[in-house]
């Protein structure tokens, strides 16, 4: 199939992260050799800690970070993120995708 040559399998990681930690996590992603990521700012959410309403005052804000990476990078990334999720809330999903080579 043609797609074989024009795309490669990657892991798609999406995390919902507290506004306070996203810069720190972005820096650590750099040091883990992650080549890129995309951030969707100011998502609302409900989780264990209940609904968050301080959003328009700028408190209790989450951001969503999406990244595509190699299989082998998944574990270092999730291990790095886990303590942040535990402490400041949020979540992290990993799924499969094809990266379209440009």
């Amino acid at each position: 199939m043609n797609a074989v040559m024009t795309s490669k399998p990657v892991k798609r990681i999406e995390m919902v992260l507290n506004q306070d930690v996203i810069e720190e996590i972005a820096q650590k992603l750099d040091t883990l050799g992650v080549s890129g990521y995309t951030v969707i700012r100011e998502v609302l959410g409900r989780g264990e800690r209940g609904l968050r309403s301080g959003v328009s005052l700028g408190v209790f804000q989450y951001h969503l970070l999406l990244l595509a990476c190699e299989d082998v990078q998944v574990e270092p990334i999730t291990e790095m993120v886990r303590p942040y999720l535990k402490r400041f809330g949020g979540m992290c999903l990993v799924s499969d995708a094809q990266w379209v080579i440009r």
């Binding site: 507290n18 306070d20 930690v21 720190e24 100011e42 800690r49 209940g50 609904l51 968050r52 309403s53 301080g54 959003v55 328009s56 005052l57 700028g58 408190v59 209790f60 303590p83 942040y84 535990k86 402490r87 400041f88 809330g89």
Partner: protein
């Protein structure tokens, strides 16, 4: 007192707040875009900072001013201390620390609303009261964070985990927390504007007046509309998590804190306007600056408690009832 309560309630600024609560309560889809709400809150901080700074440049720090600042510092230390003592046996200790920080610190919007209430009633106040507000913002936070660390390490011992283990967790160092507290946007913007207002004095005031003074009331009204909507939403969302004790604390504590502050104001011989603002600062609870630090420094605390208390109960109480009440009381005592 009746008179001033009524007068408070026919102020368009307050009416927009009441209207916001009403619209929120009947679940209207009325909504101020978050970006606009943030803009308003930044605007208010700039305006209040510039005004305070310019006033300070005009008058300097008199002896009364120093006494007012002293009163502010005392209250900033006292309120979180006795709040924590009252709370720790009733709610979990992290929540207690967070609530103590909330009530020990201040609400800028309540302060601003009180200032414009005073202006409407032709009562003067000093630019140094804005400095007082700045001074009162952080001490309670720092105390609360230290208390929370204490609780945390005790817990670590009790659960027989190595006490050191917590130190590997992210975001815990006191240095980092202090940095967050000092560099917090709202806090810093207030200080910055105060300094700029002070440095540029009367000339700066003239330049910025149309933006910072003339349209101020309109923007405050707009922002209080949003605050009303927020209050209603917050109360709906957090109904379940709020116990009667917690609600009682949120409604009675402002009175207690205001009374204590009035005592010091009386003792220090502060003029009426300054006394009133000191009471309002003591009575108010922070729902912006404190949550911005506490969510990071004491993530174990539940916003459903501390944020709801400050925003859902204490804020509307002060805006609608507290401010005219403190004013009337001062009128009675100062004479």
């Amino acid at each position: 007192m009746e008179f001033s309560l009524l007068k408070n309630l026919i102020d368009p600024v307050i009416l927009f707040f009441v209207f916001g609560v009403f619209a929120g309560a009947i679940r209207s889809n009325l909504e101020i875009p978050p970006a606009i709400a943030k803009f308003f809150s930044l605007y208010l901080l700039i305006a209040i900072g510039l005004k305070g700074g310019a006033a300070l440049a005009a008058t300097g720090l008199s002896q009364t001013a120093w006494l007012a600042l002293l009163g502010a510092l005392i209250m900033a230390a006292l309120v979180p201390a006795y709040s924590f003592l009252i709370l720790r046996s009733r709610i979990n200790p992290y929540d207690a620390a967070a609530v103590a920080a909330t009530y020990g610190s201040v609400s800028a919007v309540t302060f601003i609303t009180a200032q414009q209430f005073l202006s409407r009633n032709d009562l003067d106040f000093g630019g140094h009261m804005t400095v007082a507000m700045v001074l009162m913002e952080s001490p309670a936070i720092i105390m609360a964070v230290l208390l929370a660390s204490l609780v945390r390490s005790q817990e670590a011992k009790r659960t027989s985990l190595a006490a050191g283990a917590t130190h590997t967790e992210p975001g815990l160092s006191l240095k980092k927390v202090l940095h967050e507290a000092f560099t917090d946007g709202a806090h810093l913007l207030l200080i910055g504007s105060l300094v700029i207002g002070f440095v540029t004095g009367a000339e700066g005031k003239k330049i910025m007046e149309p933006f910072v003074v003339d349209i101020f009331k309109g923007i405050l009204a707009f922002f209080l509309l949003e605050m009303g909507l927020l209050v209603a939403r917050q109360l709906r969302e957090s109904r379940k998590g709020i116990s009667l004790f917690v609600m009682g604390f949120a409604l009675v504590m402002p009175l207690v804190n205001a009374a204590v502050a009035m005592g010091f104001a009386w003792l220090f011989g502060l003029p009426k306007g300054d006394a009133m603002l000191l009471m309002v600062l003591a009575a108010s609870a922070s729902y912006i600056v404190v949550p911005a630090i506490v969510r990071y420094a004491i993530p174990e605390a539940r916003p459903g408690i501390y944020f709801t208390m400050a925003l859902g109960f204490t804020f509307p109480f002060n805006i609608v009832v507290g401010i005219p009440l403190y004013f009337a009381t001062i009128g009675l005592i100062w004479g």
